[in-house]
């Protein structure tokens, strides 16, 4: 069974239709990049999968659980799907360790000792073992984003949704975050990412999904998307054809 199934998803902001019927299935362990121009609906699609945006028509199903607007069902769903944001959204009033421990303790009712052990393990996994007691404000953007990844991993999600997670970073900090993502991909984590890092998408992703004006235009393995694009829009997007 597929991990995530989207069926004819429609989403509008008032009269403006952002997603015009998206259907896509994502298997466990797949690494998928959503690519396309800004305004093509990539981020909105990602936010719909996590229930952060309500949608009007169609359905999303995650390991048999439908995405609804019911708060309790949404909470259950979000324990299976973690999300990482462009702006990190770490909690500035808590130490890094507390950031990672909060959800396991509050949502999963883990003991403090258990949550702390998990948090240290996750911080180690993203290369920040020594920073347990730092505050987010004392860290670089790249380090903060890695904490955000550790925080999502501590909930043991089945998939991670990554919304332009390197776009707010200085160029020299992008690689440390991508290296963590590469590790996660190698370890078999299901990743769905909106990204502008084409080289990373090409090297790491199993499939690329090209979106244009609220629709999926092309889906395929990176080699195919980059070397044999079928539509004019994609050829323009990857620069094979002038706009």
């Amino acid at each position: 069974m597929s991990l995530i199934t989207l069926t004819d998803l429609h989403k509008s902001y008032g009269p403006h239709e952002v997603l015009k019927g998206i259907s896509l299935t994502i298997e466990a362990g797949e690494v998928i990049a959503l690519i396309g121009k800004s305004g093509s609906g990539k981020s909105t699609l990602l936010r719909c999968i996590n229930g952060l945006e309500p949608f009007q028509r169609g359905g999303i199903d995650i390991t048999g659980l439908p995405v609804t607007t019911n708060p309790a069902e949404l909470r259950a769903l979000r324990q299976r799907v973690g999300m990482i944001f462009q702006q990190f959204n770490l909690f500035p009033h808590m130490t890094v360790g507390r950031n990672v421990m909060l959800a396991p303790m509050v949502v999963k009712k883990q003991s403090k000792a258990h949550a702390e052990a998990t948090a240290r393990q996750m911080l180690d996994r993203v290369g920040l073992a020594g920073r347990f007691d730092s505050y987010p404000g004392q860290m670089s953007g790249g380090q903060q984003q890695r904490v955000a990844i550790a925080r999502a991993l501590a909930m043991e999600p089945l998939a991670l949704l990554c919304d332009e997670i390197t776009s707010a970073l200085d160029p020299e900090l992008v690689n440390e975050v991508l290296a963590v993502m590469r590790d996660l991909a190698r370890q078999g984590m299901t990743l769905v990412m909106v990204t502008h890092e084409m080289r990373f998408a090409r090297e790491v992703c199993h499939r690329l999904v090209f979106m244009h004006q609220g629709r999926i235009h092309e889906v395929g393995p990176p080699a195919e998307i980059f070397t044999a694009p079928k539509t004019t829009e994609l050829r323009q997007f990857i620069g094979l054809e002038p706009v």
Partner: protein, 219 residues
Amino acid sequence: MMAFSTWDIIRNLLLATRWTIALSLAAFIGGGLLGFLILVLRIIPSRAAGLAARAYIEIFQGTPLLMQLFLAFFAPALFGMNVPAWVAAFCALTAWSAAFLAEIWRGCVQAVPLGQWEAGASLGLSYAAQLRHIVLPQALRLAIAPTVGFMVQVVKGTALTSIIGFVELSKAGSIITNATFAPFTVYGCVALIYFALCWPISFGSRWLEGKLNVAHHAH
């Protein structure tokens, strides 16, 4: 005619100041508790609760405190209840402070970026848990300075309760004036005492604002 020394005047005013302080503190604490309740109603995603909270805030911010005091004092009498002046003063000031504090705090809650709520939601936290662990601690830090600053308004607001016969600093001033015929001396002292109460509070508010801003930026 009996003579009053300046010390007599000051001593009696200071005795009455106790009631100004007591009423200010009681109204501030009562208003804080009620204000928090209204704040929660105002921000939870329920239309009915939000409307009720807004109506409350509009009514108490949109009418003079003096009218609220009159109503709190005289309305129960219509139903044959005799409310002592201090009870009416406490109730009206509490209700009035609650409306203003709820609105001040709502601004602080809204100043916490939306991404903080979303990060909490995406981790599976319930609305109440997001509020308790993520948003309120951050809003609290923003709220301290304006909340302390508002206490100055409460202290000055207690002066109005003299009109319904509660003997606090202002009322004591007018009673003493009637006996001494020295309004300038008496009201001068009254003003100085109010200033002595309020100035440290507004100074403290500014100090906290500077301190917490620095701490916030250091993060």
